[in-house]
Symmetry: C2
Subunit: 320 residues, 2 copies
């Protein structure tokens, strides 16, 4: 599977859910265990007393080859018997949990309650599912993204799942982030990476919490001092988000809903920027921000496209 | 469904799992919400961080008409997707949890963790499933039955499920019972009952913990002072347990594995005793213990047989 696994420089990918998972899957196909994915935990929530980690689990299931590609969340061939019973018991089931997915949350919660670290619990789950890469929750602390709408502040999944991302986003905050910090595993992975990839995830609510986390920007700075390249991949293609509400969210928060608008958010951090070929005309303006711009096909519709796009990203460092 | 529900005297049934559930189901068919079932909690256990209550849930599923009659445990038409995933994560899965059953344990555990009383949580679950009777856990305290075998003391389900009831039972204890007490709901139900039925459950490990619980014998004594009848139904028929290891357990603990042996265990508490017609010859010896003996068909193979047997038990009081 991994043509360069075990040898060569290590790569870190900062990722949210689906978009990040696809690119990470492509990267893993090339470099296997040399890949570390740092996932946003701001989207995590408690359902029925269980810790649910949508971004971590989307990445884990995708890298394990178990993700449900049709739904865009959860496991392939998933069943929903438990959810029906939860409903019967009068539980709110707007956040739908499949039967096998439920097992993930049950095991994780049990192991956390027994005193294990979140990072260790997640690593063990990944290993059980045969994931080659390491997927690291960004922090051991509780950080919970909230969205301000006309109705006031909402928990992230309340906005994202329950209200189908319909309300206009007026502001975003990450309660708990000031007291939180990146784990030592996250810092070490970033500091020692030769390549840090910012996945085409939502820059505000997926990558945003990771970059806002105390310790992460400093670690990226250290890596750059040692010659690492920081490559951001635009999740906005032709002015539209590939998935989710990132384009509307950028606009309502005063940013330009384009690959250029996203580039501006990463300009102080990245060395390189990857845009889709439909945005080739933006290359000059992005270059003016001080970013080396790379134009390629970033639509990762199948495994081959994921590996191809990831290969382009890896070539930036191989060529460096 | 219930031909006398809402009016008439209240009935309490002390029950363990399957045998108790069948008789309780028959009683519910006659008297509906006038029935209170007090269930053993000594068989409860924690699996994957969740509180599992085998006796409570067997009675609840049975009274809700959802029990799996083929397996003798769990829900009808149950699936096991989550269990497969738990196994993949390296969890011990000798205590098999179905997907819908898992939802029960998840909800119960979440509500307990949020500070609700076990009794209230269980009552809400029962109501959600449309159970007419009240099923009361015997106590809010943790009591855990243990079995001494040649290999030492085992947790009850370790003996019962994991080791398939194969080891010889050398002793039984109920750690925690001295510090535990019957709930006020249990005491009130027993004290105000006109009829207290001891179900044909295992007298040692199903009914045993209920009777050993501080507060229960006193409440039964109060009820008898007010004229209540206490009717025990033998779970040993023709010298064999209808289900489970009660016969071998009685023998290895020095009791007679017969309806008479069971009658001796209840002689100080019961006023009446119901034996199957195959044990009619024991009626005289049982009568000599001071128990009014009733002979009927106690094999409850289908709903009609359950209702018929329960009807016989209820007639004891109607005739009194």
């Amino acid at each position: 599977m991994a043509d360069g696994a075990g040898a060569g420089p290590s790569v870190v990918c900062l990722a949210g859910g689906v978009g990040g998972a696809k690119l990470a899957h492509g990267l893993q196909a090339h470099i296997g265990e040399r890949l570390t994915v740092v996932v946003n935990t701001g989207d995590d929530l408690e359902r029925h007393g269980l810790l649910v980690m949508p971004d971590h689990d989307t990445v884990m299931y995708t890298l394990a080859g178990l993700a449900n590609r049709e739904l865009g969340w959860g496991l392939e061939g998933e069943t929903f018997e438990a959810a029906g019973m939860l409903e019967r018991y009068g539980e709110e089931t707007w956040f739908r949990l499949g039967d096998r997915d439920l097992a993930t949350h049950v095991v994780r919660t049990a192991r956390l309650r027994s005193g294990e670290r979140l990072t260790d619990v997640c690593r063990a789950l990944q290993t059980s599912l045969g994931v080659a890469a390491a997927i690291l929750p960004m922090t051991e602390h509780e950080v919970r993204t909230e969205i301000r709408t006309a109705d006031g502040w909402l928990a992230f999944q309340d906005y994202f799942v329950r209200r189908h991302q319909e309300p206009e986003v007026l502001d975003v905050r990450f309660p708990g982030i000031d007291r939180a910090s990146a784990t030592r595993e996250v810092r070490t992975a970033i500091e020692s990476a030769k390549l840090i990839v910012i996945a085409p995830s939502n820059p505000i609510v997926s990558v945003g919490p990771i970059l806002a986390l105390p310790g992460v920007r400093a670690a990226i700075g250290d890596a750059r001092m040692h010659g690492a390249r920081v490559v951001a991949v635009s999740g906005i293609v032709g002015g539209k988000a590939l998935k989710g509400p990132a384009d509307r969210m950028l606009a309502s928060l005063g940013h330009e809903a384009s690959a250029l608008g996203v580039a501006r958010l990463y300009a102080d951090l990245a060395t390189d920027y990857v845009v889709d070929q439909v945005d080739a005309t933006l290359a000059h303006a992005i270059g003016a921000l001080g970013l080396r711009t790379h134009v390629t096909d970033t639509i990762m519709s199948d495994d081959a496209a994921r590996a191809r796009c990831a290969g382009e990203v890896l070539r930036i460092v191989a060529a460096a």
